[in-house]
């Protein structure tokens, strides 16, 4: 099985870690093969011995030895316990080392730049990406600078979702009123895709987005263009976004072409307010108790539509 996967390589498409764009996914891929290789040490013998013994000791083969009362042997016994134990110890070591791939752990990079902060809000059925320092946001597309680590902080304004960009690395859940973290790095420019992997309703299959790892200059251009574009993330835009529908639906409603929208003039504490909607006490801590953090989000109550779309009619 490993072989076709390895051969397939880049043919695996834009959602696969078998065609990695960053060190985390690359490490995961190599670990995948490592585990397969170690496991083969015991799996291959099984795949060989089962047909071999079944055939050699088939009833019609009267030449084979027959020892009906034999039922134990220390050497065999020791081998079948000890070899797997050793493999488990080795693979346990692999796991122990792989703790460095903890999604919360910042990724070191050659560039001394601080990681780019991106805040991610899971909506039905799209992700809202907020660049707090740049005061821009996007839906349906995620642009990141290649070579600079990115630190995502995630929450959800609806049910649980799981944020994944396989080519870059790990996925992690996003839940309402809570914040999870994810650190990723694209080590070279490229185009890939990301999605939600946790079923969350009837538009789940559309919750995908494009990922562009841009060269440093390209990213700066992206930010500048977004800031200049006159599409503020105001209350009306937020109300549209939080309505159920895909990124394409949102883009359409906002009069943007295609399935992506980029926003400017993002309110500074938008993410905190999304969190606060579901856990008022928390936003206080996040923003150092600033009063603004408890200002309710001016979003339309999504309840009425949700009823229909989640439960169907």
């Amino acid at each position: 099985m490993a072989l076709p996967l390895a051969l397939a390589g880049c043919a695996m498409g834009p959602l696969s870690f078998f065609d990695p764009l960053g060190p985390v996914a690359a490490a995961q891929r190599s670990m995948f093969f490592q585990v397969v290789a170690w496991m083969s040490l015991v799996v291959v013998p099984v795949l060989v011995l089962v047909p071999l013994f079944a055939w050699r000791y088939r009833r019609t083969n009267t030449r084979a030895r027959y020892t009906p009362d034999w039922g134990f042997s220390w050497p065999i016994e020791i081998a079948i316990w000890v070899v797997p134990i050793i493999i488990v110890i080795v693979l346990g070591g692999v796991i122990w080392k792989a703790r460095s791939l903890d999604p919360y752990r910042p990724i070191a990079s050659a560039a001394a730049e601080a990681p780019l902060e991106i805040e991610v809000v899971g909506l039905d059925w799209k992700w809202l990406f907020i660049y707090p320092d740049e005061r821009i946001a996007s839906v349906g597309t995620l642009a990141i600078p290649a070579g600079r680590p990115v630190r995502f902080r995630l929450t959800s304004d609806t049910v649980m979702q799981s944020f994944a960009i396989p080519a870059l690395g790990s996925q992690i859940y996003a839940m309402a009123g809570m914040v999870t973290e994810l650190n990723l790095l694209a080590d070279r420019p490229g185009e890939r895709r990301g999605h939600n992997t946790q079923f969350n309703g009837m538009g789940f299959q559309n919750q995908r987005f494009s990922v562009s790892a841009l060269p440093a200059g390209g990213f700066a251009d992206f930010v500048r263009a977004a800031q200049l574009a006159d599409r503020p993330l105001d209350d009306a835009a937020l109300a549209t976004l939080t309505r159920q529908g895909s990124a394409r639906d949102a883009a359409q409603a906002l009069g943007a072409p295609g399935d992506q929208v980029v926003f400017s003039q993002v309110p500074p504490d938008l993410f905190a307010r999304f969190v606060a909607r579901h856990r008022p006490a928390m936003a206080h801590e996040m923003t150092g108790g600033m009063a603004s953090s408890t200002v309710p989000l001016p979003v339309a109550d999504p309840m009425p539509e949700m009823e229909g779309a989640h439960d169907g009619h």
Partner: protein, 685 residues
């Protein structure tokens, strides 16, 4: 006011609940209704209602209850496989196209399919085999608590009935078999779907908890003289460990679904987004149950393989003690690994690593088992009868699923393939070649003991071929799709690279449908040929354990005289010493529990209560609950609960059987599948 009366009487139930929202749903519902009407008509036509009531609905005989469990399981399996195939067809058609299933219907399908397959196919199947075989293998006349046994069955059947009802009245949950809130909370799923899910699972899990208690106590307290624990057949060991897992692993499920019900019905805040709810509690509770559950499922299958490999290799089981130890290791370890189902939730790397390593540890005893079976074949005389074919296919395919399990157990790799079709491939790889093949092997193996005739061999092999081909084609491509990033529970997709794999998988699903069809055909053919396939002497496979030492079908009281055992594989040893088939010296009267409708009534009362709760028909909920309580109390005032089978009748039965044995011609193993096989094995195997 009229509307208030309507609500009072019918709760949320209205004509909108009928499945006219899509042609396919209407068709499925009609099929259920037509099927039910057909069964009722057939029973009335053939005048079998009385027979059904006396012989089956009121029975407390562990063998019949076991058979009813298996029948229930096969019925639910048919639905589950059809649903699985419908999803495969959808995905084969869904590249940049809506396919033929609307998303909501697709979501109901994976939810019902998963819930049915786990709770109303796999659980009843293994419970049925355990019920049927364990008392026979330990030389007992019944389980410890026959009435409780029947209650467990009827509660489970009630849960299954609600699953079927959800097809006709209202809709099922769309939250998957794991039903994660807040998606399944009232805010996001205000309909009846999750309520059906909660109620059906609750009935099933009460049934399973009670079964667990019953089986564990039976094995502890009812073994025949001389049958020490370390002389028990391996199937009994796995049954014991499964029972213990049921006792301790089902409470978390009850808590999880119960608290979700509190959220939904009483507006509480256990798992809601707001109000201080925390869905992570649900994930934690669900998998505290969910992980041991998969070992509840697999252990009895392991037990069957142990019996089958030994019997069809005509050899002592290799490494009996190691197999026992490995079984116990698996049972205990299965409580220590649940976090691997939510590595991506956010807990720290140390916790993930600890649980990842613990997860891999289970591979060691599992591997020991596999090698033990391999070395059981070594220097044996292997016969490729249907149960053995299943065992061989299992060993080859299961290790691949085990390998992918070890991959998933590595948190860093799981961060990638979690929620992908890679995971779906992994668990079907465990569930079909592991669990289902084991159940089918057990079904084929013990069928003659239940009904007195073997299953047709040719159709059995054909079915086996379909299962193996179908599984391989339907699920191996999913590993690749998962690695390509395709998520589970996806109704449509836009990546053309997925399509070829999806088509192969759909072809595989067609084979699996054929496997189901051949299984049914096999049963029909075997019933028609039952005279030629009869094995009245009771030992068609040259068996080694106690259940083969009695007639087929086994008499209601199992053993004319309770056996005494002095070593492992007692019947094989008896045959070897030429001591088998000796008449008992003295026969005594046997007291057996008398049939009663109480269990049936309690089960149906439970189901009615569940239905009423789903639809908020509170008067009915209260009435049926009171009915269940009253029935229980009334039963406790009944005396005269047993009936006596006179010694004379037992002696007569036994004499008749011994005449049949003497009349039967002993067959060698080459003629095992010929109609000459009357269930008497030649002395030299």
């Amino acid at each position: 006011m009229a509307t208030d009366w309507g609500t009072l009487l019918f709760g949320r139930l209205s004509f909108d609940a009928l499945p006219f929202y899509s042609a396919i749903a209407t068709a499925a519902a009609s099929l259920v209704v037509v099927g039910a009407i057909a069964v009722v008509a057939l029973l009335t036509w053939t005048g079998r209602w009385g027979w059904l009531w006396r012989e089956w609905l009121t029975t407390l005989d562990h063998k019949r209850i076991g058979i009813m469990y298996v029948v229930l399981s096969l019925v639910m399996m048919s639905r589950g496989i059809v649903e699985g195939s419908m999803m495969r067809l959808q995905q084969a058609l869904a590249l940049n196209a809506p396919g033929y299933l609307p998303p909501e219907h697709f979501a109901q399908l994976f939810s019902t399919h998963g819930s049915i397959m786990i709770f109303f196919m796999a659980m009843p199947f293994l419970t049925g085999l355990i019920n049927f075989a364990v008392p026979l293998q330990i030389g007992a006349r019944d389980v410890s608590f026959p009435l409780l046994n029947a209650i467990s069955f009827w509660l489970t059947a009630g849960g299954a009935g609600l699953m079927m009802a959800s097809l006709v009245i209202g809709k099922f949950s769309t939250g998957g078999w794991s039903g994660y809130p807040p998606y399944t909370d009232a805010t996001f799923s205000p309909g009846v779907g999750p309520d059906y899910w909660i109620v059906a699972l609750t009935l099933g899990s009460i049934g399973s908890t009670l079964t667990g208690v019953n089986i564990a106590v039976t094995i502890y307290k009812r073994r025949c003289a001389g049958l020490h624990l370390m002389r028990m057949p391996l199937f009994c060991w796995t049954a014991l460990c499964t029972a213990i897992l049921m006792i301790f692993a089902l409470p978390p499920l009850t808590v999880a679904t119960g608290l979700l019900a509190m959220d939904r019905y009483l507006g509480m805040h256990f798992f809601t987004n707001d109000g201080g709810g925390n869905m992570m509690n649900f994930a934690n509770l669900f998998w505290l149950f969910g992980h041991p559950e998969v070992y509840i499922l697999i252990l009895p299958a392991f037990g069957v393989y142990s019996e089958v490999v030994s019997t069809f290799s005509s050899k002592f089981l290799y490494g009996y003690k190691a197999l026992v130890a490995a079984t116990m290791c698996i049972a205990v370890l299965s409580f220590t690994v649940w976090v691997h189902h939510f590595f991506t939730m956010g807990q720290n790397a140390d916790i993930n690593a600890a649980f990842g390593i613990a997860t891999m540890t289970i591979g060691v005893p599992t591997g020991v088992k596999i090698f033990d079976w391999i070395f059981t074949m070594y220097r044996g005389r292997v016969r490729f009868a249907v149960p053995m074919l299943y065992a061989l296919a299992f060993m080859m395919l299961f290790v691949i699923g085990g390998l992918t399990g070890i991959l998933l157990a590595n948190p860093a790799i799981d961060y990638q393939v979690h929620n992908s079709l890679f995971l779906v491939a992994h668990f079907h790889n465990m569930l079909i070649p592991g669990l289902l093949f084991g159940m089918l092997a057990g079904y084929t193996y013990w069928f003659p003991k239940a009904f007195g005739f073997r299953l047709d061999e040719w159709w059995g092999r054909l079915s086996w071929g379909c299962w193996v081909t179908g599984f391989t084609l339907a699920f191996m491509p999913l590993y690749v799709l998962g690695a390509m990033g395709m998520t589970r529970r996806t109704v449509t997709y836009d990546n053309p690279a997925y399509l070829p794999y999806m088509i192969v998988a759909a072809v595989g699903a067609a084979f699996l449908l054929a496997a189901l069809a051949t299984l049914v055909t096999q049963l029909a053919v075997s019933i028609r040929r039952r005279a030629a396939l009869a094995v009245p002497a009771g030992d068609p496979w040259n068996g080694r354990t106690l259940e083969w030492s009695i007639p087929a079908p086994a008499p209601a009281y199992n053993f004319a005289a309770l056996p005494v055992v002095d070593q492992r594989d007692p019947f094989a040893q008896e045959k070897k010493r030429g001591e088998a088939y000796r008449p008992g010296f003295i026969h005594t009267d046997i007291e057996m529990p008398r049939n009663t409708g109480v269990a049936f009534l309690i089960g149906m009362g439970g189901a009615a209560c569940g239905f009423a709760v789903v639809w908020h028909i509170w008067w009915l909920a209260i009435a049926s609950l009171l009915f269940v309580v009253a029935t229980t109390i009334a039963r406790s005032f009944q005396t005269d609960l047993t009936e006596t089978i006179p010694a004379s009748r037992i002696a007569r039965d036994e004499a008749r059987w011994l005449r049949q044995v003497r009349a039967a011609e002993p067959v060698g193993r080459d003629d095992e599948t010929a109609s000459r096989n009357m269930g008497l094995a030649e002395a030299s195997a």
